[in-house]
């Protein structure tokens, strides 16, 4: 076979070997954020650690578990009484403890929702939104921004209610593996379209993440030194369309692979075991809490 003619610069020897590396380079903005997002997504979507434990919620059939937690979330959402809400918080804590779920793991999933709720409802704390007994504040001429007692109580009630609802949802996701979750959901009278859309979203989130990670690794393998945050952000935004396009291609291949094995848009899962006595007790308890919340509200 004829040899190729290589350009001159290609033939030049490198000279001295590479000097030993110094301190380890810090990860770039994109790499750090991708890694965090990836690990968060995997933790949230595939909670192997707690779903395989033996605990109270894990003992309940997934279908009943999902329905029961839904009733309790509804109860927390409908409660307008502080006692009922405290009861919901207490119950969530009990379920967390008896299901072997760490409070820190639960808190990790709940705090972003709490912070978000606090930001959204922050005007409620002030007198211009909730007039009442002034606790503290500042005034400048005719303008006054004072936090009122009634505002604090309303705000805290609202935040507690949101935290309680999110905690219950997080507890469900932590104690239910992905397969069990979809099996349970498919067994409930939930629209098929909703289950399918949710299922596809789970799949495509992972594809998108993998494409983004691969693109970042390809960049890393061809660059030296650490890019500045602004450069990283610019690179990421300029590649966003490419990443989206690549992930769409991959998603199309996945949907072909699904169609090839008979998928027709309706997710079918293996039927789990029927409901046991314990499931009926659990459901009755959850329904009772829901009715109780109505009673206490009125």
């Amino acid at each position: 076979m004829a040899q190729m003619t290589l350009p001159g610069w290609f033939k030049e020897a490198r000279g001295a070997p590479c000097a030993a590396g110094g301190r380890s380079a810090q990860r770039s903005f994109v790499e750090k954020n991708l890694a965090r997002f990836n690990s968060f997504t995997k933790e949230v979507l595939e909670p192997e650690e707690y779903s395989k434990k033996r605990g109270l919620l894990q003992w309940i059939t997934p279908k009943a578990r999902i329905a029961g937690i839904f009733f309790m979330i509804a109860a927390a959402g409908l409660s307008t009484n502080a006692y009922a809400l405290s009861g919901a918080v207490f119950l969530t804590a009990l379920l967390t403890a008896f299901s072997g779920v760490g409070f820190s793991a639960l808190a990790k999933r709940v705090w972003p929702a709490v912070v978000f709720t606090l930001v959204i409802i922050s005007p409620v704390f002030f007198s211009f939104f909730t007039p009442g007994e002034r606790l503290f504040g500042v005034s400048a001429g005719p303008f006054e921004a004072a936090v009122t007692r009634e505002g604090v109580l309303s705000g805290l009630f609202f935040v507690t209610r949101a935290a309680s609802m999110v905690s219950l949802a997080a507890l469900l996701l932590l104690t239910t593996g992905q397969t069990e979750f979809f099996r349970g959901l498919a067994g409930l009278p939930v629209p098929r379209f909703f289950v399918t859309a949710l299922y596809m979203m789970f799949r495509y989130v992972f594809i998108l993440l993998k494409v983004a990670e691969d693109a970042n690794l390809a960049l890393k393998s061809r660059t030296a030194g650490r890019a500045r945050i602004k450069e990283s952000q610019q690179w990421f935004s300029s590649r966003a369309a490419m990443i989206l396009r690549k992930s769409l291609n991959a998603a199309e291949e996945v949907s072909m692979a699904m169609a090839s094995r008979g998928f027709d848009g309706k997710i079918k899962t293996l039927r789990g075991p029927g409901l046991a006595v314990r499931d009926y007790i659990w459901l009755a308890g959850a329904l009772f809490i829901l009715f109780l919340s109505f009673g206490l509200s009125s």
């Binding site: 072909m256 692979a257 027709d264 293996l270």
Partner: protein, 270 residues
């Protein structure tokens, strides 16, 4: 004569303005093992997707067991029957493995096709055992090694019990032991009269498993259709179709010119 499974008549396909297939004609009979050979970009994968009813030809037609395979015809009972009978192993296992666990992956196909739960459980357990992957049952597919992923991808198709297996580059990226495992599996399936259509560059696969070969050249046309062993002997054809290439190198004092590809022979010496 054995039953005709596929008939392709003047198939043509293009992606936008880029032609992938031109006037492809061939038939496949039940129990046949057909190798589709061609260089990268010759249209092999596109052809398999058409045969699996995932995309449809722009020109010409394709029939499955005498029935036209079109977007309109692939619905209802025919679609179910077709998916039960034809399995497709994608070249990239990551694309094919989308379920949370290996067990679910194997159960996915039969579930979608309405196989009873008890039968699915039996099939999955027996396949896991047969393929020696029972230990992977509860694992998430993305945590597996390349060879394990390929095994699971093949198992996920076999659980449907298809009569026809479409294999796109089945030995790509497999280590030697897994390749032997794969050859043995296909040999066993051949004995029970399964039909194979495999796209490959791997000429050793053709020699060991294919009874017939179709060669696509870089103009996306069929340039050979005949016994597999004949194509392996036709070095000029393999060179023209860019399946092998020739190069010169030295062993000690001897200079060789030899064909080079996945299946190479030191057949010419200077």
């Amino acid at each position: 004569m054995k039953e005709e499974v596929y008939r392709a008549d003047g198939l043509g396909y293009s992606y936008g303005g880029r032609v992938a297939l031109r006037e492809i004609c061939f038939t496949v009979r039940s129990g046949e093992s057909l190798a589709v050979l061609g260089a990268n970009g010759s249209g092999k994968s596109t052809l398999l997707k058409i045969l699996n009813g995932l995309i449809f030809p722009k020109t010409g037609k394709v029939e499955f067991m005498g029935a036209p395979l079109t977007e309109e015809s692939l619905s209802g009972e025919f679609l179910k029957c077709f998916r039960e009978r034809v399995g497709f192993v994608f070249p990239e296992p990551d694309v094919q493995l989308f379920c949370p666990t290996v067990y679910d992956e194997l159960a996915f196909g039969p579930l979608q096709l309405g196989v009873p739960d008890s039968e699915i459980k039996k099939r999955v357990d027996e396949l896991l055992e047969m393929l020696g992957i029972s230990n992977l049952s509860g694992r998430a597919p993305y945590t597996l090694s390349g060879g394990e992923k390929k095994k699971v991808a093949i198992a996920s198709v076999l659980s449907v019990d298809p009569d026809v297996l479409l294999l796109d580059e089945p030995t790509n990226g497999l280590d030697p032991r897994t390749q032997v495992w794969f050859f043995e599996l296909l040999q066993s399936l051949k004995v029970i009269n399964k039909t194979f259509i495999m796209c490959t560059h791997d000429l050793s696969l053709v020699e060991d498993l294919a009874s017939r070969a179709v060669v696509l050249d870089e103009s996306h046309r069929v340039v050979f259709d005949g016994p597999a062993l004949d194509v392996l002997k036709d070095k000029d054809l393999l060179l023209r179709a860019n399946i092998i290439h020739e190069h010169t190198h030295r062993h000690g004092g001897i200079t060789h010119i030899h064909s080079h590809g996945p299946y190479s022979t030191h057949d010419e010496h200077d």
